[in-house]
């Protein structure tokens, strides 16, 4: 029997090629999209789960607030780890690590700058239990000059030779002996490390303050018999005993009083597996993703899936007219309704199966363009994914049920007596089908509006005057590798006619994080410590970035005293309550008096998402060397300037590679998330409207066919072609307009919320809404146009002959 069904089904598919193509292609496109999104979501959810005890591994975070300052950090103070080990027996293992910058490692001829070099407690591999290929994880960090490295690093430096016992020289100063080789980490982790070296006797690890100097990442593994809530309670008690007294001393007030003023200080456990999607603190090791993206994409996947199913249902039921006769015949030769339901189900299963196959291929082809995993730098290999088969099975089942049930039951319900006599089986206007079309277009319109608003906001952020000059600035990274030689290097650069100015700096605008420092204004009535973002630079910084002064002056290398002073921005002046700060003094947390030399006008040193935070610019002095060297260039021939600068670098660098980027490229990463979102939304909106239009196309073919007789009669009665075209188009356009009425308020609400995240944002005017509706109208008119015109031009004699 099933053979008979599938035979009929297959021949039906082949016979109505156009229809089958529209149905299957539309569905496959939707499924492909869902598939890609679901693989992306599964990937996001799988972060850090490869660690054997991931479920019991926890990071300690710090939340603190006083006065108008708040801090939420992914790092803790140095002694907390030992304290926890001592006070909480349910903790199996604790470890700390810290990043001190990227050293330049050398082994023979091979020399690279390494970003993923961390220092850690010897217990590191007890908490982060990665498999070791050489060496023993328990003793790998026992010696002070040991380093454990990843397999790919071992290959990079030592090729196929044994890595154990080999020497790596860091920054030409310090030798490390390779003590272990561990397996490479998968991309799905919030913390990638290639080198782990023991702290040894570093002084910062011995600092004995529990509440300040939160510089260390502290991770631990709990015993299975303690819940995270109970562990959190124990941490709270430690805060009261050890952190509060210290803070009372620091602020000179009792903790009860401070707490009354809204101050708090907390140590919070955070599950390892939650970090990637839910943690957005200061001093995260890497930029994490966001659970909201997972939600948004799930929603989009679901919407597209529904769209695709709706299309499928629409097209299948529209075609019921042509299948009705077959239903009649089959019933007349003895088929029961159940047989027919089974027949149509197997037919739909076949269609869905074909669609799923095509979807897999499409997903594989499209995934590089959808760019869902841009951050990871690895294109999602759809076919290689382990979750693919169960996912496909699920999709197949779910979509056959969703898309198949209604058509199967509808088709099998036809009364043979009626269909065999040629009575129309379905009314011309199906409310359900109309509703489904409206739903499809609503989704498309919402997505188009989203695309337009996001891209406008992006353009707004990119075009806005940021308060500093970002063009024609070259950034040389790792300039501190030159050591003291940086001064000569700078001077030689300045000698070039196309170099305007050169400045060393610790951070640059657009960096994800700056350090911070606490200051108070002694003249303010209730002097409180305020947190100021901190940046170190030399005297040329203002010139290189064309900062504008609001008062006072910038640093001057002829005045050695300037090294003690700072320049603040207007936001800092406001926060500290200073009306004319130039020449006044601030008091640092250590009690020192710090002269304020000048005030720069506010500039956007972070994303426009954020308001401009208070900032203190510190002076390094002329000889200082920071990791970053910014060079302002004025030349029409950038390439030549670059080549010249490279030559100078090579003369000074003793073989160190020239690591440069243009400042505006570097700054663009500030908006990487938004521009990725914009690209993805664009892709998905195109997809949504293509699916909707495929559905519309199929539907219009059938509706036009159904109304052939009516059109014939109207023409005989003297209706013009234009009039008939309008009559037919009007039917569809009504649906699009209704969809706009539904979509616009929803889109308005969603976009309002999205824009709410930006401190600096565009207004939400009617433009994108009108444009989205127009685009949808235009595209749908174009889709049905051919059908409509053909129907309107048809010779009425042909259409009426058969009546």
């Amino acid at each position: 029997m099933i053979q008979n069904y599938l035979k009929t089904a297959w021949r039906n598919i082949v016979r109505h090629k156009g229809y089958s193509l529209i149905t299957i292609a539309g569905f496959a496109l939707g499924l492909a999209c869902c598939l890609m999104i679901m693989l992306y979501i599964l990937d996001e959810m799988s972060y850090d789960r490869f660690y054997p005890n991931a479920g019991r591994t926890v990071r300690i975070d710090v939340d603190a607030s006083w006065a108008d300052n708040t801090a939420s950090m992914a790092t803790t103070s140095a002694p907390l780890a030992a304290l926890i080990r001592r006070e909480i027996p349910e903790v199996e293992a604790v470890t700390r690590f810290r990043y001190y910058g990227a050293p330049v490692l050398r082994h023979g001829e091979k020399c690279f700058s390494e970003e993923r070099f961390f220092f850690a407690d010897p217990t590191f591999f007890d908490v982060f239990s990665v498999p070791f290929i050489q060496g023993d994880p328990r003793h790998a960090l026992a010696q002070p000059n040991a380093v454990a490295i990843s397999l790919s690093m071992a290959r990079k430096y030592f090729g196929s030779a044994e890595a154990l016992g080999k020497v790596l020289t860091a920054d030409n100063r310090q030798d490390y002996i390779v003590s272990g080789v561990f397996a490479d980490l998968p991309p799905q982790t919030h913390f990638h490390y290639d080198f782990i070296a023991p702290f040894g006797n570093r002084r910062d690890t011995q600092v004995d303050s529990y509440a300040t100097n939160n510089n260390f990442s502290t991770y631990l593994r709990l015993r299975p018999d303690i819940t995270i809530t109970r562990f959190a309670a124990k941490l709270d008690r430690l805060v009261q005993t050890f952190a509060h007294p210290e803070l009372e001393k620091l602020f000179g007030n009792s903790w009860a009083k401070l707490a009354q003023g809204g101050a708090y200080f907390r140590w919070l456990p955070r599950r390892l597996t939650d970090i990637h999607l839910r943690s957005h603190r200061d001093f995260e090791i890497e930029t994490n993703s966001d659970i909201r993206y997972v939600y948004v994409f799930s929603l989009i996947a679901f919407a597209i899936f529904v769209l695709a199913c709706v299309n499928f249902i629409n097209l299948t039921t529209a075609r019921a007219t042509t299948r009705a006769r077959e239903v009649g015949i089959r019933k007349s030769i003895g088929s029961s309704r159940g047989e027919l339901v089974r027949q149509f189900f197997s037919e739909i299963l076949l269609l869905v199966f074909l669609a799923v196959l095509i979807a897999v291929v499409l997903a594989q082809l499209l995934s590089p363009y959808l760019d869902l995993s841009a951050e990871k730098g690895v294109p999602t290999a759809v076919l290689a994914n382990r979750s693919l088969l169960p996912l496909l099975g699920g999709l197949l089942l779910l979509s056959s049920l969703l898309a198949g049930a209604y058509p199967a039951f509808l088709l099998s319900s036809f009364k043979p007596a009626a269909v065999l006599k040629g009575d129309p089986v379905m009314s011309k206007k199906s409310t359900l089908r109309g509703l489904l079309v409206v739903l499809q277009f609503s989704v498309s319109i919402i997505m188009i509006i989203g695309t337009l608003v996001v891209s406008r906001q992006l353009r707004f952020m990119q075009d806005r005057d940021l308060g500093f000059g970002k063009e024609q600035v070259l950034v040389i990274r790792k300039a501190n590798d030159l050591g003291k030689g940086v001064r000569a290097f700078k001077q030689e650069l300045l000698a070039r006619p196309d170099v305007v100015s050169v400045s060393s700096a610790s951070h640059l605008m657009g960096d994800p994080e700056f350090g911070d420092e606490l200051y108070k204004n002694p003249d303010a009535p209730a002097a409180q410590l305020m947190k100021l973002q901190r940046l170190f630079c030399d005297e040329n910084f203002a010139r290189v970035f064309q900062l504008r002064l609001a008062g006072g002056r910038f640093f001057d290398k002829s005045r050695p005293a300037d090294r003690k002073g700072i320049v603040i921005n207007e936001a800092a002046a406001r926060a500290l309550g200073m009306s004319d700060p130039a020449g006044k003094q601030l008091i640092s947390m250590g009690g020192e008096r710090i002269p304020v030399l000048g005030v720069v006008k506010d500039f956007h040193f972070q994303s426009l998402r954020q308001r401009i935070l208070p900032m203190a610019i510190n002076y390094w002095g002329e000889d200082a060397f920071g990791p970053l060297l910014a060079v302002r260039i004025a030349t029409p021939d950038m390439r030549q300037a670059l080549a010249g600068i490279r030559r100078i670098w090579e003369r000074h660098s003793r073989g160190q590679s020239f690591d440069f980027q243009f400042f505006d490229d570097r700054f663009a990463r500030v908006y990487a998330a938004e521009s990725r979102l914009s690209g993805q939304l664009l892709a998905f909106s195109i997809l949504a409207i293509v699916i909707a239009c495929l559905g519309l196309l199929g539907l219009s073919i059938f509706i036009v066919r159904q109304r052939t007789k009516e059109i014939g009669i109207r023409k005989v009665l003297g209706a013009s072609m234009t009039r008939i075209s309008w009559l037919l188009s009007g039917e569809f356009l009504k649906h699009v307009l209704l969809a706009s009425v539904i979509a616009c308020p929803i889109a308005y609400f969603l976009m309002k919320r999205w824009l709410g995240d930006f401190a600096f944002r565009i207004g939400l005017d009617a433009g994108p809404f009108a444009l989205a509706v127009l685009i949808t109208l235009g595209v749908s008119l174009a889709t049905i146009g051919v059908q409509v015109v053909r129907a309107a031009r048809a010779n009425p004699v042909d259409s009426l002959r058969y009546e």
């Binding site: 008979n4 021949r11 006769r325 009649g328 089959r330 030769i333 309704r337 009575d423 129309p424």
Partner: protein, 244 residues
């Protein structure tokens, strides 16, 4: 074999009841060849569909081989129909996507006949109707006469007690029509009961008995006894929900 009592069929909406069949009483004996005649819209086809259990009467009783059809549920009715009734239509109604062989096979599949038996039954039928050479062709590759031949073969293949034919020669030329009628005659001679609907006196002449329908009324033999009124009633409206 068949006994109809007071069969009435109408389509109703809120305001009008449109009668198709009115109070039909009819008995058909096993082995009979009956012709139903009447002008367009007289209700002939509807009566045939009700007899074939593809349609239901609104009122009245229908006994088929002693079973009260009007009391059976859909499943039972399908079974009865599957066993005992073959249909032949004016426009053949073969399944376009299936070959001649597969078309003949389909009713056997629904009847759940075993594969071996099925094969031999289909082979027999192909043989008997001289269409062996055509078995792999699709309906669209056949002439009208050939298609109707296949349709008759399909109706006969389940060895039904009753064959219902709705204007079986309506789309055929006279020679093809005659062949089909001869075929019916032969089947009837072997004991199959046949009920046909036709306009043609010539086709009617093949049958043992003729009944006439007009505007839903049955006029036994005589055409003169015209009950007046109801000129509008024969017109079938488009689809209305059934019942009331």
């Amino acid at each position: 074999m068949i006994r109809l009592r007071g069969i009435t069929k109408y389509y109703a909406n809120a305001f009008v009841k449109t009668f198709v069949l009115r109070n039909i009483d009819l008995d058909v004996k096993e082995g009979e060849f009956l012709t139903i005649m009447g002008p367009s819209g007289a209700g002939k086809s509807t009566l045939l569909y009700i007899l074939g259990m593809l349609d239901e009467a609104c009122e009245g009783e229908y006994f088929f081989c002693g079973q009260a059809v009007h009391e059976l549920n859909e499943k039972k009715r399908t079974q009865l129909h599957q066993q005992d009734i073959g249909f032949v239509f004016q426009s053949y109604h073969l399944i376009d996507e299936l070959t001649v062989y597969e078309n003949l096979e389909t009713p056997l599949l629904y009847k759940k006949v075993k594969p071996d038996e099925r094969k031999s039954l289909v082979a027999d039928a192909l043989d008997r109707f001289h269409i062996v050479a055509k078995k792999d062709l699709f309906p669209s590759q056949l002439s009208g006469g050939q298609q109707q031949l296949v349709a008759v073969a399909r109706a006969v293949i389940i060895q039904p007690k009753l064959i219902l034919a709705d204007e079986p020669t309506g789309n055929l030329n006279s020679q093809q029509g005659e062949e089909i009628m001869e075929l019916f005659k032969k089947l009837n001679a072997k004991g199959t009961t046949i009920i046909q609907v036709t306009h043609s006196e010539r086709n009617a002449s093949y049958s043992d008995r003729v009944i006439h329908l007009l505007d839903g009324w049955m006029i036994n033999g005589e055409k003169s006894a015209l009950p007046g009124e109801h000129r509008e009633s024969g017109k079938r409206k488009k689809k209305y929900p059934e019942g009331t």
